[in-house]
Each structure stands twice: as C-alpha cells, then as structure tokens.
Amino acid sequence: MPESDDRVPPAVPLLSLQAASLRFGGIVALDEVSFDVQPHTIFGLIGPNGAGKTTAFNVITRLYRVDSGDVLFDGRSLLHTPPSGVVRHGIARTFQNVELFPTMTVLENTLVGAHTVSRFKREGAMRAKAAEVLDYVGIASVAKRPAAGLPFGTLKRIELARALVSEPRLVLLDEPAGGLNHEEVEALATFIQRLRDDLKITVLLVEHHMNLVMRISDHVHVLNFGRTIASGPPADVQRDPQVIEAYLGGELEAAS
C-alpha cells in the first residue's frame, strides 16, 4: 500500500488503527478500518448494533487477531503483544457486558487491575492506592463487599476503578452509559472529561448515548457494517448524510 503523505497529522497519534480488517466466517466485522486517536482527547467510536465497535476494542486489546492491517500504540505495533501485555503498555479497558471477578471483593477486583504496577510493591501501599481509586469513582463504601450481587451501575464503576488503577495512558470504555439513568449519565460525562483534563488520560469511547458522545468527544468516528462511514468533529459527523442514513435505517428497522 502506498504511503499517503498529503496529510500531516497534528501530533504523533497515541493509538492508530491502520487498515485493520477482521472477518468471522462470512461476516466482515472490520473492513480496512483506520483511525488515529490523538493524545489527551476523547475519541468517540459509534455505529449501529453490530457495526464492529467492540470488535475494534478486542483487536486493540489483542483478544482478536486482525486478518490484515496494523495497530500502533505510541508508534509501535501491538500485534506481537500478548493480551496480558497490553495493559503494561498503558491501555486499560472496560467491557460492554461487565467482566468482573464475582467471588472477589470490590477492593480485590481493583487490586487485580493493579497487577502490572504492583510487582515488588508493598501490599499495604497497593491497598491504599486501590482504595483511593475506589473513592475517586465513588464506590469506596462497598470496597469489602463481593462484586457479585451489586447493582449494575456499581459493577460498571468497579470496572472503571480496575482500569484506572493500572495508571493507563489510554482507556477504552465500551458503553459506559449502558443501563444508567439520566443523572448518572450526566455524572459520567463530567467524569470522562475529568479523566482527560485532570488525569491526562486519552479516552476511546464506544457509546450508543448520542447526546453524551456528541457533547464530550473531540473527534467522532462512525462505523457501519465494519466500514468507516464518517470521521471528524462531532458537529460535522452529526450532519453527515451517510451517518443519518445508517442510524435512520436502524431506527426504521427497530420501528417495523
């Protein structure tokens, strides 16, 4: 593939997908998807159901192997990193359907997130740090409870805590607003902005809550059936006819 030199990026992207493709049998989950995530930004990744958003996350975190293309983090390919090595590079994630350690306490769940930064550290210091993060996400009061049986909103926050305690440079949030009520979504919006502004963490955000994405994202990238259909500032993307079409089509389907 020839290099395209006509566009000089404003800075070295923190994360870069380069023509990443992945198919499952007959389904093309990702079709030559490329995008650059600039440091200290919130990057919204949207698209109708089955568009390939979660697949993109799984490709970045090495749970899936791309058929072709590349994933660069800080300019270096991630394709030879094992899944457990991704977080060591500074990429942490949450899961769409919540993947926790149900028999372990909330504090222990968070401490597992600190696995890569806790080698040769004192247990007491790590516990204090985990407790601090739990406090930051607002669930310090349930630290000693087992994760199983806690409300869904709390589970999502445990995942956030587990991701943040690893001191990531990039967090991938897969539908963090799923199942939250209006006020909680507002709080989440502020929270994600604080990740960017206070903690200097870059955020890759997958979300169906359009209002949230359009309001806080610096850049929005739209997938449909595994293909990029639009990419740009939220205001432009919202007006894009292809995007409107993709979402309207979805709505028509849902209505019929």
Partner: protein, 321 residues
Amino acid sequence: MSRGLVTRLGVIAVAAGIVIVLGFRLSDYHLGLGARIAIYFIAILGLNILTGYTGQISIGHGAFMAIGGYTTALMSYYHHTDLLLTLPLALAVCFVCGLAVGIPALRLSGVYLALATFALAVSIPQLPLKWSKWTGGSNGIRTFTSPGNNWLYRVCWICAGIAFVAAWLLLRGRTGRAFRSIRDSELAAASSGVSLPIYKTLAFGVSAAFAGVAGSLFVLVTNGYAQPNEFGVLLSLQLLIGAAVAGLGSLYGTIVGALFIGLLPQISTSVPLIGSGHGQDVVFGLIVILVMILLPNGVAGLLGAIDSRFKSAIKSDPTTS
C-alpha cells in the same frame, strides 16, 4: 489487626494445640492414622491451589504423589539419603513435573483437562511396572530406613504446618489474587495484565510440589514401601473429594477435608454387616454423595452461610447497632 484475622489466628492456635496434645495421647496405631491425615492435608492444600483457587480441575494428583513417593523411596534405597532430605528433593522434582504438565494443560479446560489429568492418574503409577528392574515392580521398593509412627506423626504435622503457612503466604497477596482472577474470568484477568500461561503453569507446579511432599510422606507411613497400587486412581479421586468437602478456594476447610478422607474409610468399615468386606466402599460412596448434596460448597461454604446469617441477624436486631 482486624477481627477476622484474630479469629483465624485463634482457630489455628486451637487446631495446633489439639494436634500437639494428641501427639502425646494417641496410641501408636492412631499416631499413624494422624500422620496420614496430615499427609492428606498437604495434598489437598496443593490441589486446592490449582482447582479451588485457579479453577483448573485435576483428577491426577495421585500421580504427583507417586512421583514424590518414588523419589523418596529410590533415593533412600539406592543412596541411603536421609529421609528428611528427600522431602525437598521430591518437592523440587514434582514442581518441575507440575510445570511440565501445566504447559500442555494450557490448551485444555473443563472436562478435557479433567480427562487429561485422569489419564495421568492412570498411567504414571504404571511406570514403575515398566522399569521394575529398578523400582521393584508391583512389589514396590522400600526405603533404607523406616521410622516409627511417633516420628512420622511429628514430621508429617510439622510439614503440614509449613505447607499451610506457605500456601497462606502465596495466596494472600498479588499471586493469590492473580490465581483467583483466572478462576473468575480469564478474559478480565488477561485484560488486567495477568498472564494466563504463566500463572496457570505456576499453579500446576506449586500444586504438584505440595502433592510431591505428601507422596514422600505417604511412602514413609506405609512402612517405607513405594508401591504402584498405593497411588492408584482412587487416591486421586479421594483428594478431589477431600478438596470438595473442604470447600474449593478455602484454606481453612482443608483440615475437615483431610479428616473426611482420612477417617471415613475407618468409619465405613465399622458399619455393621454392610461395612464389612467390600461393603465399606458402598458406605464410603453413599456418604460422599450425601455430603456433596448437603454441602455443595463444602465446609467453607457452610461456615460462610452461617456467618452471613449471623451477621444479618445482628443487623436486623434493632438493639445492636
């Protein structure tokens, strides 16, 4: 110190006290039985690290006990090695064997892992028959010296104590959490930076090392004889039953699991009529089924249930707050 820790230390102190007092009171025969229970305790601890904590089933731990046992018997027979020195040797040999089994086991899980480890339990104890020239075949091989029950009781329980502390130290912090995270969700564990290959293999190695020490001691309590049929499939199954009775993922239930598989054969033999002859196996099986139905989460699960009921009783009582 937290209240939970004080309670636990108290329980351990009482248990240690009972073991010590019994050491002075028991008859020679019962000292031998007590030593066996300590051995089961060590083996179940090891199995629990793998199956209870890391979520990888093994029906093959009798095989690691056989390797440990034969290490002791062969070293003592051919080199007159001090019996106590053969214990760390068995530990090291079995640790390496455990790693060696753990690496191919990475590709297996659930029923397939169970079957693969079952194959180990069946095949490893047959190896001495193949090399009978050195191992004495089905007659077995005997250690150069064989200590008395008093010595055995002490040594076995000291080893059990060391094993318990070692397991506790290993499991309480970062490593133990990594093990449990794999059991709860491999996906989330890997994404949190826990290397599945490293920790699963490590769990196999450590678990086998415990079983190896148990196997060494096991040879000593059978008058120093290492014999293939002593390490059969039944032994592997007994260990798994013991771990299930103890409660998978609980160190404190282990003693009950060890008592269960150590004493139940004695008890089931003494059931009138049916318990004599082969009826004892029937009684043993029935009791195991009953316990599994009544205590699906083992003794640890039972204690947990009592504890939470106790706590909710306190909570609902308005006079205490």
